[in-house]
């Protein structure tokens, strides 16, 4: 963990010679709609995320962000193009449980308590098992996301924000090298959303994981990320990249600064520009 943090301090994403945590090259994805019709979803996506960085993906809804994340997680294969996570194919990362997936809907198992939900990823695919007892590890991770004392609660007994914390813990307990977050806070109210964003920043800093965050909220992207990638409408390509050079740590009041507003404006302008240039 310490090694990654050092790497974060010295690595520059543009000139890093080290193997990036995520590298996708001309990813294409089309869905077969039958009768020879194909729906193109990704149209040559290139992206690189240096180890230890937090990169946000924003784009119009339905542009293929979730598909991109599924491909990076190794859940589906692209029609064309390559993906490498730490220089390995996503399948290898998947088998090593090196990817922590967090989704918009918490996707917890309602018949399991919080601690049993967190343990889920440790129970399956035991070849890559950990030395420590799953329960102990799950308890510690719940405490890490601020849910000590809620181990025995079922999802229906927890608030939306707490459920999403459990989902975060379920991913973090794997000690993933890469966190893939697919609009993790989209179903939460504004206040809870802001809180969990701060929580994510803290967890990301303590674990040293690389993180790729898909979000609808430009402010959230600017608040959390080192770089924001703006995607075009479907079929998606990376239209532009905005580097967010706000200093870290970033407390909530960063939102009030002129720099923050400037970055938000820039990302929004890029988003609008791409939407406008798209033929109807």
């Amino acid at each position: 963990m310490r090694a990654t943090q050092t790497a974060r301090a010295i690595a520059d994403p543009d000139s890093a010679p080290a193997t990036p945590a995520v590298r996708a090259h001309s990813l294409r994805m089309s869905y077969d709609r039958g009768q020879g019709q194909w729906l193109p979803v990704l149209d040559g996506v290139d992206l690189t995320v240096a180890t230890g960085k937090l990169v946000a993906l924003v784009g119009p809804s339905g542009c293929g962000k979730s598909t991109l994340l599924r491909i990076l997680a190794g859940l589906q294969a692209p029609t064309a193009g390559d993906v490498a996570l730490d220089g390995q194919p996503p399948e290898a990362a998947r088998r090593a449980k090196a990817v922590g997936l967090v989704l918009q809907e918490h996707a917890l198992l309602p018949w399991r308590t919080a601690v049993e939900n967190v343990r889920l990823g440790l129970e399956v695919n035991q070849r890559a098992g950990s030395a420590r007892a799953p329960d102990e590890l799950a308890r510690d991770t719940l405490a890490l996301v601020g849910l000590a004392g809620f181990e025995g609660y079922y999802p229906h007994q927890l608030s939306g924000g707490m459920r999403q914390r459990v989902a975060l813990a379920r991913a973090l307990v794997l000690r993933p090298r890469l966190l893939l977050l697919d609009e993790p806070f989209a179903s939460l109210d504004d206040l809870t959303r802001g809180e969990l964003g701060q929580e994510l920043l803290r967890l990301w800093a303590t674990t040293g994981a690389t993180a790729l965050l898909v979000t609808h909220s430009v402010a959230e992207a600017v608040m959390l990320a080192d770089r924001v990638l703006v995607l075009t409408p479907r079929p998606a390509t990376v239209a532009a990249e905005v580097r967010i050079d706000l200093p870290r740590p970033r407390p909530p009041d960063v939102e009030g600064t002129a720099d923050f507003a400037h970055h938000v404006g820039e990302v929004k302008r890029l988003l609008r520009g791409e939407v406008a240039s798209q033929p109807a």
Partner: protein, 245 residues
Amino acid sequence: MLKRLSPILLPLALVLVAETWVRLAGVPVYLVPPPSAVAGRLLSDPVFFAGHAARTLLGALLGLGLGVGVALPLGAAMAHSPGLERTLLPLAILTKVTPVVALAPLFVIWFGFGWAPTVLIVALFTFFPVLVGAIAGLRSVDAGALAFLGSVAASPAEVFWKLRAPSALPHLFAALRVALPLALIGAVVAEWLGSDRGLGHVVGAAHTRLDLPTLAAAVVVLATLGAFLTALLARAERRALFWQP
């Protein structure tokens, strides 16, 4: 107090009305037995009714067990493979659209008097709803949970036991709520046509003798049995699905 009693007020009133009407109008007992005569028949020979009820209950439960035992693995296979579903579903639907009652005499010829026709008829009655419930249930999994399990390379067996099977429980209980009354109907029909034991046989035999108090008493026992089993199932469902909102 009134709240707890209110569900039985109407049946009680109906019993009173029936009793009064039969007595005042002098309706013969071979047409409508007065409730008092039915109760008298029940109490005069409780061992007789209990014995036949046990037989019916066991036949219904064994048949239901067989139906569920065949439907669950088949449903799992069909939920897994759309090709298998396309191949087998027409045959399964045939068991649903055929009035299985019509097969009962045939089963008696093939398997003789006794347990076999009862168990088989009940299994045929209950097989289809459980099969459909299993297929629908095993497919109704949360896409996010499935994605998470995929992201940690869970095996198909792990996905089945940790996600699909528990997700299927609400559908399965709904199917059992349908199948349970069907099991009793199947048992009664099979016993009527092909057994010398069980409440179905009691009803059939009493009918030929125009012994309406015995017939009505058997029906009362059957209704009680059905209500008891349904309540038991509802209790099990509440326990198993405590996590449902």
